[in-house]
Amino acid sequence: MNTFLHTLTDNGELFWRGFKTTIELFLISAIGSLVLGTLLAAARVSPVPILRAVGMTYVQVLRNTPLTLIFAFLVFAGPKLDIGLEYFPSACVALIAYTSAFICEVVRAGVNTVSPGQAEAARALGMTFPQVTGQIVLPQAFRSIVPPLMSVLIAMLKNTTIAAGFSVVEAGAIPQYMSERGENQFATLIWIVIGFLLLIAPLVTLQRTLERKWGVAR
């Protein structure tokens, strides 16, 4: 038990640095993919055919490409095409590009739960498409998609560990450092699991709060 504790306390700086980067990656990518995902969902339900086609193509391509490949594309193929992104921004772009495809589909499912009568009524009042979407449909849609949205975000939090292979030192890079330092691998992995559980706890709490606040009897 003593060695188990020392695994963490002797390498506190490494764990702190790793998880700090994980949190930064998560926050930036979560905000980015929520925004982009919502815009894509709006495109997919819009009355403009070209927007619908763009949205659908994006979702199909990004959702079906392994995340590691998206990372590899940005980091190894990017420079050959003169896309000169640093490693941390590359990781954010990869995570946002990938996760927003899933968020788009979740939001679209939510949009479909809103009765068409709502949108029709809004249009009858003379509201434009952005107004209908932003003020009538999306607020009602978000209410019903809190649980699946959180699942997507939690999956993304865990996906951040892929960045370790692409020169971003986050929680997923800790085991490699620890093995070079000759530390116990088992204890290291248990501490990383505990770290992730601690990070996911606030997300679960947020989900509960939002569900309680926005829940309505139908």
């Binding site: 193509t57 190894f76 193929a77 890079a173 450092y177 093995s179 070079e180």
Partner: protein
């Protein structure tokens, strides 16, 4: 309409996968080699031996070595090696092995009277080397194995057969990096969490933000060729292997700032075998076989090396 849309999606998806495939093949091996002199080696994938004469010895006088008794009765030798270091310890796509360490292993086997096709190679991860030697899983180990006092408690070392040191691999046209002191403001890459990387950090050779790290050295080399980093750092033996793979684009700076003595790992108590292997190395260094092996493998990088003095104990 529907069919058209499907076709469009398929076309874009194919494009996407095609691009993704580019990402995967973005390793240094994809870069065209340097033509005639080492056409095959230039592609990095096909093994070429140095051509050193490694015919098995006829009569071997080695007594009192349990390892050799096992080799003699079994008719084969089991050698621990690495397989992912070009021109050092490498296994190509068709399963052939080559490189400096591999040929040193073959040299020892030849002196033990074992033919090349009777050598069984085992890839042993660095962390398991002592266990594999102690447990008799392998007869000896040749693969960037540094001689240290800590390891000497568990295993014995013949050699050193090579003295390596942490060095820098840079693009051939880059003259701004001349050694560890000129790294400030330059981007440096190495394997995640590795000792060379830690040394760069501890000695503050460059700013923390300029350090990048990947799981393998080949990924670092790819970033170097694409000008995303300015130098790759680790033992010069490993770096020379990459430079030899692509001598028209890469060079090793040649100012080592650490010292690693590579030895051949043997069973701890087999002194008879240790003396025998040391004699074998001494002979190879004297009659030019060592030099020939070096020239045909790491020497293709353009940097020279000198024979290290043996440290018998």
């Amino acid at each position: 309409m529907r069919v058209q849309r499907l076709a469009a999606v398929a076309a874009i998806a194919t494009l996407g996968f095609g691009l993704a495939a580019c990402g995967k093949s973005g390793t240094p091996t994809a870069t065209p080699g340097n033509g005639a002199s080492s056409g095959a080696a230039g592609t990095g994938d096909q093994c070429v031996s140095s051509g050193a004469n490694l015919t098995p010895a006829g009569n071997v006088s080695l007594t009192g070595s349990p390892t050799y008794d096992k080799v003699k009765s079994g008719g084969k030798v089991v050698v621990g090696v690495k397989a992912d270091q070009p021109n050092l310890g490498y296994k190509d796509a068709s399963g052939n092995r080559c490189g400096f360490d591999i040929e040193i292993a073959q040299l020892v086997a030849a002196k033990l009277g074992v033919a090349k096709d009777k050598i069984e190679y085992k890839e042993i991860p660095s962390a398991n080397r002592e266990t594999a030697i102690k447990g008799g899983e392998i007869d000896y180990y040749v693969g960037t194995y540094s001689i240290t006092d800590k390891r000497k408690a568990d295993v014995a070392f013949a050699g050193p057969y090579f003295i390596a040191g942490q060095d820098l691999l840079v693009r051939k046209d880059d003259s701004s990096i001349t050694g560890p002191d000129s790294l400030k403001g330059k981007k440096v890459c190495s394997a995640s969490g590795s000792t060379p990387l830690q040394r760069v950090r501890d000695k503050k050779l460059t700013e923390d933000a300029n350090i990048s790290e990947f799981k393998t050295y080949s990924e670092c080399v790819s970033q170097l060729l694409d000008k995303r980093v300015d130098a790759v750092t680790t033992d010069d033996a490993i770096l020379k292997g990459y430079a030899a793979q692509n001598p028209s684009k890469l060079k090793v700076v040649g100012k080592p700032f650490s010292e690693e003595k590579y030895g051949i790992g043997l069973a701890h108590d087999d002194k008879a075998l240790r003396d025998f292997v040391n004699d074998a190395l001494a002979a190879a260094e004297k009659d030019g076989v060592w030099q020939k092996i070096y020239d045909g493998t790491l020497g293709k990088s353009g940097s020279s090396a000198t024979v290290p003095p043996l440290e018998r104990y």
